[in-house]
């Protein structure tokens, strides 16, 4: 277990270094100087650019720059955002929790639902109803998440007007605070969160189906039935436990892939999280913010993925070290 933790910590470091190096290369390879002030900058922007030049040490020799970048990034100092005139670190600290608020329930619900469907599919593999479910899963998977979100928004917000189309909260309710404010946020959470949950569920179901088919083919299932264990218990105690390990590993692989989809869904729904902020930063050429978000996002995903893999290891009794 310790070895695993060390390996994963090392991997996070590698990822961080690669991203920093990439940022470094981009800053210098990009046409023109991304951080040089231009004559039609408003005064705050010019100040921001100058401050960023300092943080990135752009007036220093190249090697020193790299070192300075590493040192500053490690301390969370990414300079000032061009578009928001405040430290990038502050922006990230504000938007990251909102993304977590969106992703956490989506993950929990999506994984749960996907596991249930996938395991059910494993039992009834090949039969007509299962095949229909399989086609439905594939159809959902084949649509980009943002498109699913778009369609959901059109149906439930625009057409039926049941749920809000964009944003995280409505101004007056947010100001009022208390329970109505919380309920308001939840209302806004439903569409984007539901979209992500559906996408995650489809992905999980597809893989869990294969895992479950394999598990159902193993001899211990037959032996359990011979003991008088009911099909329900076979599915939800024996098979589920058997597939738990690969499920965790799947989630570990899924998280990096989900980030892309989540960012676009945030954009479609105007959810003010890290994803939509990044997209806005890209289009407004807010370089410090882009770099900051990309680095923090990569590291965050790396860590979450490592946690999922750690769970996968724990699920396999052979991998556990005896006390």
């Amino acid at each position: 277990m310790l070895r695993f933790a060390l390996e994963r910590a090392g991997q996070t470091v590698i990822v961080a270094l690669v991203v920093v190096t990439l940022a470094f290369a981009l800053i210098h390879a990009a046409p023109g100087d991304p951080f040089s002030p231009s004559p039609d900058d408003p005064p705050e922007l010019a100040v921001a650019r100058e401050r960023v030049r300092q943080t990135y040490g752009l007036d220093r020799p190249v090697v020193a720059q790299y070192g300075l970048m590493l040192a500053n990034f490690a301390r969370g100092r990414f300079g000032e955002s061009f578009s928001e005139a405040r430290p990038v670190g502050e922006v990230i600290a504000a938007v990251l929790p909102r993304t977590a608020l969106l992703m956490a329930p989506a993950l929990i619900i999506g994984v749960t639902f996907g596991t249930l469907v996938g395991t059910w599919q494993g039992r009834r593999a090949g039969r007509r109803r299962e095949r229909i479910v399989g086609v439905a899963t594939l159809a959902v998977l084949s649509m980009p998440e943002f498109l699913v979100g778009l369609l959901a928004s059109i149906v439930f917000a625009t057409r039926l007007n049941w749920l809000p189309a964009t944003g995280m909260q409505t101004a007056d309710l947010a100001n009022a605070g208390g329970l109505p404010a919380v309920a308001d946020v939840l209302r806004h959470l439903l569409l984007p969160g539901g979209t992500l949950a559906l996408a995650i569920a489809a992905m999980v179901a597809r893989y869990q189906r294969t895992s479950a088919i394999e598990a159902y083919g193993e001899e211990f299932v037959r032996a359990a039935r011979a003991k008088g264990v009911s099909e329900g218990r076979v599915a939800w105690v024996h098979v589920l436990r058997r597939t738990a390990g690969s499920l965790c590993a799947l989630i570990g692989l899924l998280l990096p892939a989900m980030v892309g989809g989540a960012a676009l869904v945030e954009s479609v729904f105007g959810w003010p999280g890290a994803g939509s902020t990044l997209l806005r930063a890209v289009s407004s050429r807010d370089y410090p913010l882009v770099i900051g978000l990309v680095l923090v996002g990569s590291v965050a995903v790396c860590i979450s993925s490592a946690l999922a893999d750690a769970a996968a290891q724990l699920a396999n009794p052979r991998a556990r070290v005896k006390a």
Binding site: F220, R225, A226, G228, V229, S230, R242, G245
Partner: protein
């Protein structure tokens, strides 16, 4: 005496994209309470299918019949509804599988898998189930059963795993135990140990045993009667003495001749 198990005209066929394959073709026999009966045959003879059909756990692509019946304690198992069958499985009839490594759930502790038998058959008290399981594990010769209760299957040796399988099968003292090649996957020395244990337990609990095997040596040592199967059909049925000294069917004679012996040149 009324037989405990009476198999009548059993036919089992497996369906596949290439067509149906008949595995058991009109097999009939009966087992009396407390008898140890061997079901002998080479691989592909259909002997395992007889066991699976009796337990009602044939794979989905298997078809039983027509005209078959399996009477156990007075009821035809082939017409019993599933909940009734589930009640019998593990409680009145049990199965011991060939490969204990595969037959145990690798991510469930050994003791839990033994206690599960009691829990699915009505035991509400988890602690009682646990105690019964530990007692049984001790009885089958597992050293330090209380600690081994929490062991994982991969931590046990092949012989110990098979003892666990026996504990599972015998926990509720069934009337019939179907042992499908229970020692084939074990090392030779362990085979002897497990066999001895099986015979001991049979003598103590008095259950009937259907011993499915391809190993005639084992048959000679442990069984009262033997049934010989060849390609789905029952070709001979006799007491073990009669079988070994006066085999009737040419196939039986072939099987006997093929047995390695130390006192004769091959």
């Amino acid at each position: 005496m009324t037989p405990l198990l009476s198999v009548e005209s059993l036919r089992v066929a497996y369906g596949s994209p290439a067509g149906e394959r008949r595995a058991v073709d009109d097999v009939s026999f009966s087992i009396n309470p407390g008898e140890i009966v061997a079901l002998v045959g080479e691989s592909g003879s259909g002997k395992s299918s007889v066991g699976l059909a009796t337990m009602g756990i044939l794979p989905d692509n298997a078809r039983v019949g027509p005209g078959s019946a399996i009477r156990f304690e007075g009821r035809d198992l082939l017409t019993l509804p599933e909940p009734a069958m589930r009640d019998l499985r593990g409680r009145r009839m049990a199965m011991v599988f060939q490969d204990p490594a595969a037959a145990l759930n690798p991510v469930m502790r050994v003791g839990d898998q033994v206690a599960e038998v009691a829990l699915v058959h009505g035991e509400r008290d988890k602690r009682k189930a646990r105690d019964t399981a530990i007692d049984m594990l001790t009885r089958v010769g597992l050293p330090d059963a209380a600690t081994q209760f929490r062991a994982w299957p991969h931590e046990l040796s092949g012989g110990m795993r098979q003892r666990v399988m026996l504990a599972i099968a015998l926990l509720l003292k069934p009337a019939l135990v179907i042992a499908d090649e229970p020692t084939s996957a074990l090392d030779v020395t362990i085979q002897a140990q497990v066999l001895r244990l099986l015979v001991e337990l049979q003598r103590e609990f008095g259950m009937a045993v259907l011993f499915i095997t391809h190993d005639l040596g084992v048959v000679a040592e442990t069984c009262d009667r033997a049934l010989v199967m060849q390609r789905g059909r029952l070709v001979e049925s006799a007491s073990v003495d009669a079988l070994f000294h006066a085999p009737q069917h040419p196939y039986t004679r072939e099987l006997l001749a093929a047995m390695p012996r130390l006192d004769r040149a091959p």
